[in-house]
């Protein structure tokens, strides 16, 4: 299935009783198959912006267009079945085993049992879990890293045309996080699903992003490819954000990434 382009057009969100707009007139376009990272500190609106795509957050102004259709025109339940969703707390269903969790969206879509069974095994292998060992495990028998692998498998089970990931690796330790990031790059490049990825971790953004969107107080501060964002931050805010931490590592990492990318 073709990956869906996603457009935000003058999107504004205001929560009742909040002093300012959570999202303030944001416009942004994601090409089909692109991995865009929303980067910023907590409270900058990155999760809110992500959740407008599958209508878990309603707009006060503007529109979000997925694959040419304004999402407000679609039935939210139908819309969500076509968009993968991964959250930091994972949220595996405690009354289902691993296979049943992965099979949730395909079974909602009415796939046959045999198609679901095959797909579950395929997905577990894709996220690096042995189907025979994990298929019938209870969710409380999984480590944090294993649980999030299952969470990713569940999100991509029905071959969504877009994938939303809200700090998916924020709760796992550094070693596991790095492994998961590496595998995510592999999985997303295989699927070529349009992916919107929220994080506050600058290194994670540099590792994963085709483009990075820096958000501040609900507004876009800068949009650029990682190398440019690092070398030419547009504002003091972006400079401070990307140059706090291990600067030398980042410089070499991004230079190396640029070299590998250039033809």
């Amino acid at each position: 299935m073709n990956p869906a382009p996603i457009s935000f057009e003058h999107v504004t969100v205001r929560y009742p009783g909040a002093p300012r707009n959570a999202i303030d007139d944001v416009s942004l376009h994601l090409s089909g198959g692109e991995l865009v990272v929303l980067l910023g500190p907590s409270g900058c609106g990155k999760s809110t912006l992500l959740r407008t795509v599958n209508r878990l957050v309603a707009l006060d102004a503007g529109r979000v267009v997925v694959d040419g259709t304004d999402v407000a025109q679609l039935d939210p339940v139908e819309l969500r079945r076509g968009i993968g969703y991964v959250i930091q707390a994972v949220g595996l269903f405690a009354n289902m085993n691993v296979a049943q969790n992965v099979a949730v969206v395909p079974s909602l879509l009415g796939w046959s049992n045999s198609a679901i069974g095959e797909r579950v095994d395929e997905l577990l292998r894709l996220v690096g879990l042995d189907p025979a060992a994990y298929r019938s495990r209870r969710t409380n028998q999984l480590s944090g890293g294993e649980a999030q692998r299952v969470g990713v498998a569940r999100a991509i089970a029905a071959r969504p045309r877009a994938l939303l990931m809200d700090e998916p690796f924020g709760a796992v330790d550094v070693v596991v996080r790095t492994a998961l990031q590496r595998e995510l790059i592999r999985i997303v490049s295989e699927l070529r699903t349009t992916t919107l990825f929220v994080t506050h971790d600058v290194d994670e953004a540099f590792r994963l992003a085709d483009r990075i969107v820096v958000l501040r107080d609900g507004r876009i501060e800068q949009v650029d490819v990682p190398f440019e964002l690092f070398e030419r931050p547009g504002t003091p805010y972006v400079r401070e954000l990307v140059h706090s931490g291990d600067e030398i590592y980042r410089r070499y990492y991004l230079r190396a990434r640029e070299l590998l990318r250039s033809p």
Binding site: N54, L56, V77, E78, L79, R80, R81, G82, Y85, I87, A89, V90, G91, L92, F93, A94, N95, V104, V105, L108, G151, R154, L164
Partner: protein, 202 residues
């Protein structure tokens, strides 16, 4: 004990009637209490009023309630059945609500994000996880109902209460003892069975 040994079939027949009364009342009570519990879980502001009302009903002395119900339904099976259904509401509805509220928010976020409708979230995520808590409520309700159902002997001529009230009238202590022991046996049996169900379901 003499009566129990002398008339085991009579006691068994009354115990069966007792059980029939409690089981049918319990099933009817569940049909009402599950929707009430779902409403209490969905409307956190209305929940204290709803559960508070059911709790207040629960504190009415059973003999007084039965006296009122007999005015409406006459003597027999019905007034006891209705009393049992009414009494069970508090314990059942409260546990349904507690079970649903016990499902963590991340699962609900994930369920919504996966494209489940509110009814599907209830049926596929919330109620299955509320089941052990609900069975816990059923266990407590069943024990209370087995004990309250002895009043059926007084107003309806059904259940093991018949032995207790006839024994009182006839000054026949061993009849009272037989009815009491059999009632305790039912309660202990129900407790053991439902404890097992609670364990298996969680």
């Amino acid at each position: 004990m003499n009566y129990l040994i002398a008339h085991p079939l009579r006691v068994a027949a009354l115990a069966l009637g007792h059980l029939e009364l409690v089981v049918t009342a319990l099933l009817a009570a569940l049909v009402i209490a599950i929707p009430l519990g779902v409403i209490a879980a969905r409307r956190p502001r209305a929940a204290p009023w709803l559960l508070g009302t059911l709790g207040a009903i629960y504190t009415i002395p059973s003999l007084a309630l039965l006296a009122v119900l007999v005015q409406t339904f006459g003597l027999g099976f019905t007034p006891v059945f209705v009393a049992l259904v009414v009494y069970a509401q508090f314990m059942l509805a409260r546990n349904v609500a507690a079970g649903i509220n016990g499902v963590d928010g991340a699962q609900l976020d994930a369920a919504r994000g996966a494209g489940m409708s509110p009814a599907q979230i209830l049926a596929r995520v919330e109620l299955p996880q509320a089941l052990p808590v609900l069975i816990g409520g059923v266990r407590i309700a069943a024990i209370a109902m087995i004990s309250i159902a002895t009043l059926g002997g007084y107003v309806g001529g059904v259940g093991l209460g018949v032995l207790i009230f006839n024994g009182l009238t006839l000054h026949h202590p061993s009849m009272i003892v037989a009815g009491s022991i059999a009632t305790c046996g039912l309660a202990l049996g129900a407790d053991a069975l439902l404890r097992l169900a609670e364990k298996v379901s969680s």
